[in-house]
């Protein structure tokens, strides 16, 4: 791990008119660290994620990112061209619904290869080899490389979306409910895969989820949000085993034990 954080967020707020999306969020994310943001629906998790990933402009506050050359840049002072380049090289975004993050009408190979072509790879054979390798890493058979994601199951689509994002070796990945909408056995497999990839590649990730089990498995640190505010933050095990805020206690105790 480096001795400097990767992402610094200070006093970030987003208002939708008079309503609050999220307010006064401050934290740092370190290289290789997985941070979970948990809370109920409407607590501002997704708003926060969108503000961090430049998909939504915050009303106040500052988000700065340490680029590969070590320079700190304010995300909202960058030009749009730089921001978009960052998003498709150094960052990844895994959507809850794979159809939002994939091109459903082109083959799996082209989906994985798109980012490579976007940064200037112009050798078909090499693009295909990389795509095959990545499909293998996310447990999709090489014989499915020319199939469209439409022909894939929900779990496969989600794995394909992950491969598509990781192919340029990003340093930071945003995930919005990556296991939402999948059945439990597929969820377990996906979580296992994600945990392996995050460890192998030393990825930093911000995972938004309402599922405390996902947070427990994937993340090292977590933030609990309610009504747009971070009400508790700390090491995942500490927050889940010894919740301090009354709301967190309620959240933890409302998990069904089978």
């Amino acid at each position: 791990m480096s001795d400097e954080p990767l992402l610094r967020v200070s006093a970030l707020s987003k208002y939708y008119g008079a309503r609050t999306g999220c307010e006064d969020v401050t934290f740092e994310l370190w290289p290789g660290e997985v941070l979970a943001v948990v809370g109920e629906s409407g607590s501002g998790k997704t708003t926060l994620l969108n503000c961090l990933s430049t998909r939504l402009t915050p009303s106040a506050g500052c988000v700065s990112y340490r680029m590969r050359d070590g320079e700190w840049r304010d995300l909202y002072r960058m030009s749009e061209a730089e921001r978009r380049l960052l998003m498709r090289t150094d960052w990844g975004f895994v959507h809850q619904n794979p159809a939002d993050g994939l091109r459903m009408t082109v083959s799996a190979g082209a989906n994985v290869g798109e980012r490579l072509m976007a940064v200037g790879e112009r050798h078909y054979g090499r693009i295909r080899d990389t795509a095959t390798e990545w499909l293998g890493r996310v447990e999709i058979g090489a014989d499915r490389i020319d199939d469209q994601p439409r022909a894939f199951s929900g779990g496969m689509r989600q794995r394909l979306q992950i491969a598509r994002n990781l192919v340029t070796a990003p340093r930071l990945v945003f995930m919005d409910e990556p296991t939402g909408g999948l059945d439990v056995s597929v969820q377990a497999r996906l979580l296992d895969l994600l945990r392996g990839l995050v460890n192998d590649l030393g990825l930093a990730a911000i995972v938004v989820t309402h599922d405390l089990a996902v947070a427990r498995l994937l993340s090292r640190r977590m933030m609990v949000m309610k009504d747009g505010h971070v009400i508790e933050a700390g090491l995942t095990d500490r927050v889940l085993d010894d919740p301090r805020a009354p709301y967190t206690q309620l959240l933890v105790s409302s998990v069904l034990a089978v």
Partner: protein
């Protein structure tokens, strides 16, 4: 070009009092010329313009006709081709239209024309200095079928994000083993804008590269004009291990024996008989007049019977 109204007006007033020279009013022509000048200044960039209703349906070349009407003058000689042929319906009616509303001389000879309006083909004979080639374009946006949002494609052009164009070529190779796109083959202009060369066969893409003629593209329904000034770099997109290549026919034209030209297949009977002939009719006729002939073509002179 406004003096055109003066020189021909007395004559025109008697027969065509309701038409301005070249059909469009002077203000409209002025607007289109401004779009054309901007397009020439930024090769390959799609300039929006206020496309007018023309007395023909969209898809018949309304964009090309408006561009031609804006640049034509009384001394111009017009040639119109459709699929390379001078004698098809579209070509004949557009030629007749300009003969009527601008009273310009028309020709079928590539070398004699100063303005050539085309749909699909670039003449086989290399174009010369001072000639203008006007294309009728149905869909000017090369990224359209990959990214349907116009707001997004404009942003992609602005930020030079053209990775998606290669995704299309990748798909072609993955499905067919080679780049199977044969027409509207995307090109990069002057190392900057990716442009759709309209539905011309990729056979003609190399002719756009460093052409001596001015090339203007008009899309009437889509309200876009773009241009290639003379000697512009036009490079067809490809992969290092799947380079761009043009169609080859492996046989000469059946009428004039020309090789290395674009051929059309003509069905001769209902028992599988067929012939391949030049798609550029002027090129074919010129060659036959010069005494060349292919396997089915009679030498010049006998053809009349």
């Amino acid at each position: 070009m406004t003096e055109a109204t003066g020189t021909r007006s007395s004559e025109a007033a008697r027969s065509l009092a309701t038409y301005n020279f070249a059909y469009l009013d002077e203000q409209t022509k002025r607007m289109i010329r401004r779009a054309i000048l901007k397009a020439i200044a930024i090769p390959g960039y799609q300039v929006p313009f206020a496309s007018r209703e023309m007395p023909m349906p969209y898809g018949w070349g309304t964009g090309g006709v408006q561009v031609t009407a804006a640049v034509i003058g009384p001394d111009d000689v017009l040639k119109v081709i459709d699929q390379g042929a001078d004698d098809t319906t579209n070509a004949v009616s557009i030629r007749a239209f300009f003969k009527k509303v601008a009273r310009v001389a028309v020709t079928t000879r590539t070398a004699e024309a100063t303005i050539i309006q085309t749909r699909h083909r670039i003449p086989e004979q290399p174009l010369a200095d001072g000639q203008i080639l006007v294309y009728q374009v149905p869909i000017p946006e090369p990224l359209r079928f990959l990214e349907p949002r116009e707001t997004e494609t404009r942003k992609m052009h602005a930020l030079e994000e053209y990775g998606l164009m290669h995704v299309k070529l990748y798909e072609d190779i993955a499905r067919n083993g080679r780049i199977a796109t044969t027409y509207a083959y995307p090109v990069k202009v002057e190392g900057r804008y990716v442009m759709d060369p309209s539905p011309t066969p990729k056979f003609d893409n190399p002719k756009m590269h460093r052409s001596r003629a001015l090339q203007l593209f008009g899309a009437g329904r889509e309200k876009r004009i773009y241009a290639l000034p003379p000697f512009t770099e036009v490079v067809s997109l490809d992969f290092e291990d799947h380079p761009f290549e043009i169609q080859s026919f492996g046989r000469p034209c059946a009428l004039c024996g020309a090789e290395g030209v674009y051929l059309d297949e003509v069905i001769l009977d209902d028992r599988g008989g067929r012939m391949f002939v030049c798609s550029d009719t002027d090129h074919c006729e010129t060659r036959r007049a010069d005494g060349h002939h292919g396997e089915l073509g009679a030498p010049a002179g006998e053809a009349a019977e």
